[in-house]
Symmetry: C2
Subunit: 582 residues, 2 copies
């Protein structure tokens, strides 16, 4: 065990703009606010009696609404954010007089305090550097990443800057395009790193070591910032093991790289995917990790569920070079536009300065309603009102239980989808065109000839499966390019009776190399449809693929709009098409 040391100084990477932001020195002033009876003429705050909202209220789920456990909450809870709670301690106070007033950039104190405890004690109980990380509330991970980019990169303009000044950002070969579109307009190099089923590769051709060791300085500075989704990677669904994390982190130490870890799906990890994959594919598959306790050699999170999750890069972040982005988008709702950033204190301080002149703080409407739902009513002395007495508020136990229930919900969808995919990968020559898809194993059939149409890795977390279409096995492949077949398949699937809209792989390619391969992939989400539709819709999809393999020509599949749209989406990142969450 190495000695506990403070985080390293990253200020050599602060952008010109971020370095210029002046530090806060307001503590000296606080005493004046605390003078009893002081008449405050100084603030430019509107009077709270002029806020038209007297209360905010909501009907909300109880934490056990979603399985694994079987009980349903037929009776939902009520939460009320009152106009004035009368509680003096700001860390305990949840009311409209404070939540709808101007606040501090760090976030609404009650929510900030809860999330700081959750982050430090439960989500990442073993951050190695001295003192541990701090947090700052954000308007979701796109906002958080935008601020991290503002902090750690300078715009590079070929019309006025030297190539030696050009900075770069590392990312996976296939990635969440909205993040790439955040950095690309700044003129930065976007450097793709090779990936496998887990996510980013540390070694091998095109892996991180290869990219950093053999960096061509004629392209600019060696990249110093990494953007990565490590759990339920978007679009591939991979999850990075601790072993892989250690290798990548060591390279980041060696080459002085900051890691921005964007993990909206961290609580949607599916241990069953390893088991299901092994069951379907026999012993040739690597065994999965099963249910592990990742904190067994450190401090426990206090919850078996959290202990079982593959931990963040923060858990091995001895130097404080990890900036982690968390969001309520997948755990509460995307429209929350609420999340938090976790990093070493000096980085959080700079991000707070940036927040002061951009978003100021997330909306008090969402901050107070989420605080009231999760934290609930508290006594003025900080002891929480017991469930029996009052019943409001999930508290830490309820919040963790909700996260576990959500995982269960998405895991069942994932299994429903992947079972159908697994059982219909092959076109069997004696199957007639009208035969129906079944979920029975195909092994019992008398097979004359079987052609594999697609392959996939069971997603170990997240919201989608990444499916490789084996276009070279298509009977028309000798007449058409794989890319042409791919476009035709996409249009074919949208037609009756298939009626399926899938995410083209080209939307996620971050390099020319991956763009050249991207037409071989589609991303299919099990999240957005109704739970009971996942299986029948996926059946419709595989029937559609099968019908495509049986086509004798591509007549009627030349859709100019689709080609234009796919091109347009690729350019744009598709934010409006698939929703910013794609």
């Amino acid at each position: 065990m190495t000695a506990v040391t403070p985080p390293v100084d990253l200020s050599h990477f602060y952008s010109y703009t971020a370095s210029n932001r002046k530090p806060s020195s307001v503590k000296e002033f606080y005493k004046y606010f605390l003078i009893p009876g002081i008449a405050n003429f100084a603030g430019g705050l509107p009077h709270p009696s002029y806020f038209p909202y007297d209360t905010l209220e909501a009907t909300v789920a109880r934490p056990r609404r979603l399985q694994p456990t079987s009980d349903k909450d037929a009776i939902p809870d009520r939460v009320i954010v009152p106009k004035d709670s009368g509680i003096p301690d700001p860390r305990l106070r949840i009311d409209l007089t404070t939540a709808l007033q101007y606040g501090t950039a760090e976030g609404y104190p009650a929510l900030l305090s809860f999330l700081r405890q959750f982050t430090r004690d439960h989500l990442h109980p073993n951050v190695p550097y001295a003192g541990g990380p701090e947090i700052l509330l954000s308007c979701g991970n796109t906002d958080g990443f935008s601020k991290a980019v503002d902090l750690f990169t300078n715009v590079w303009n070929p019309g006025r800057d030297w190539i030696q000044q050009r900075e770069g950002v590392l990312c996976e070969e296939f990635a969440y395009m909205n993040a790439i579109q955040t950095v690309r307009p700044r003129g930065l190099n976007v450097i793709s790193v090779a990936m496998d089923g887990q996510g980013m590769c540390a070694s091998g051709k095109g892996g991180l070591a290869d990219v950093l060791e053999n960096w061509d300085f004629r392209r600019g500075r060696r990249p110093h910032l990494m953007y990565t989704v490590t759990i339920g990677q978007n679009p591939t669904g991979g999850t990075l093991s601790v072993e892989r994390r250690k290798k990548i982190y060591a390279l980041c130490q060696q080459y002085d790289v900051i890691i921005v870890e964007d993990d909206p799906y961290w609580n949607l990890q599916f241990p069953s995917a390893y088991e299901m994959e092994a069951r379907h594919r026999g012993s040739s598959q690597e065994p999965g990790p099963g249910i592990r306790n990742y904190n067994e050699h450190g401090k426990s999170s206090g919850y078996a569920f959290l202990d079982s999750l593959v931990p963040s890069y923060l858990s091995i972040d001895t130097e404080g070079r990890v900036v982690r982005l968390d969001t309520f988008s997948k755990t509460v709702a995307p429209g929350s536009r609420l999340g938090w950033i976790t990093a070493q204190p000096a980085v959080i301080e700079r991000l707070t300065r940036i927040t002061e002149t951009t978003t100021q703080q997330p909306s008090g409407f969402v901050q107070s309603l989420i605080a009231e739902m999760i934290i609930g009513k508290q006594d003025a002395d900080g002891t929480r009102v017991s469930q029996k007495e009052d019943g409001r508020g999930w508290h830490m136990d309820g919040w963790v239980r909700w996260l576990e229930g959500l995982r269960g919900g998405y895991e069942r969808r994932m299994i429903a989808m992947c079972n159908v995919l697994e059982e219909n990968k092959y076109l069997l020559s004696q199957q007639s065109e009208n035969s129906k898809t079944t979920s029975d194993h195909v092994d019992d059939w008398e097979v004359v000839d079987r052609v594999q149409m697609f392959d996939f890795v069971w997603p170990k977390a997240g919201m989608f499966a990444w499916v490789e279409i084996l276009l070279d096995s298509h009977p028309l492949r000798s007449q058409y390019s794989a890319e042409r077949l791919s476009k035709a398949l996409w249009v074919h699937l949208t037609k009756k009776p298939h009626l399926c809209l899938v995410g083209p792989g080209s939307l996620f390619a971050t390099s020319e190399k991956s763009a050249a391969e991207a037409h071989r992939y589609i991303r299919i989400a099990f999240a957005p449809m109704d739970a009971e539709d996942v299986k029948p819709f996926t059946c419709r999809l595989v029937e559609g693929v099968r019908a495509f393999w049986q086509r004798k020509n591509l007549d009627g599949l030349e859709d100019e709009d689709a080609a234009m749209a796919m091109q347009g989406l690729k350019l744009k990142g598709g934010a409006n098409f698939l929703g910013p969450g794609y």
Copy 2:
């Protein structure tokens, strides 16, 4: 009347980053979403059944809660945002299934549609350019300004750029410092323009014509962007007349300057201030405009109240060079973090692209709750449910009435404060130290000697009075610098029995010149305290000033913390001290 022409092309001012953002071309894709029965595997959206909120609700004011009219709403209204409204038209739909889902960067369709109508038909019915302006929702005006700065300026770094590349921003001599702190870290020139009681000066020494005509190119490019608060200017409370606007706009046309108009106080205009000032100060004062109909020669706003307000620069924006920022911070609550940007369509398109990779959209919690309060329930065909039938929703009439009521509330506070100030500007030598402040006119007193301690202009809009302390008239002025006296006064006022915290003028100075004069001013807000406290608190304040004028020395007023804090605040912009709204 000149012919109606389209707005001019401003793309030569787009920043390198903003120019690089790719245009959206998603329209081609929409038809696929509309295919009946399509199974959408493409989007990465969470399923709405996993949002823990079943409803959002609120108890809200009725529009007539605040005077001018006398009826009080003892019974507040209830608004409910349901989980699923079942209304197909997105412009009419207000529910959690849509509001808490990923949305488009422009804003929640129902709210966007309402605000677009309000902006185009009621707030600015006479925008001269062809087609009129578009709007985009923001997370408040700080966010809106930050995005405008991102669009229209390039960072200038002396370590790598030429001085000729340095861009500049025009602002008033005294300004809202958070805006200045948005541009200063980018290395831009911040250029102060002289101001008077109205606001920015067009002509005269240091006025806009002087600054632009005599620009010294050795400092960089001539400034092409203006940041201005034209109504209830912060901190001076001035309001710019239409005549002045025309002169400034003509200069902006001549020198190709974009105007960013930040008007959080536009509905808090106080026609009575002109009258009160004239009454107190006799006929030597210029007469105020009285109640005018500013739209009498154009299209009416449809509301006498809105017609009576000094209109935006947009009303004379023939070329489309005005970007206006509106916010709910002062009309609903600062914690809303919700506002909108109004500008020519091409500018709104670029700002939308910026929004996609930063804030994405304001929180759905606030968007849906404000939409539900203001717009209320609507029939599926777009006709609103009548008040009688349902009673929910303010609709356009209620929204305008609420704005008028708010104006009344702040206007009464302003009058309460300024009457006390007006009647206590003078130290009367035969007044004993213990005499009480009265609201009677001092004219009746038998005066032996009177010394004026301070002066002010009645604020014509907004939330504060800007008071000039006539430090040169202080008996100790021969022993101490005015600056020293100013700091001593600030500390003196915080002590018993005065107990007043005032905003030091130095917090608002944007140039060395104005910083050198700033200690002569304080900004005192009538907004944040309880209504019934405004008069007694202001009495305490003027008593404090009087007591300061009667001091024989400055003993006990050397407060290092205060000096440090004031310096620190000046550096920082004071966002955390006075709240971002200071």
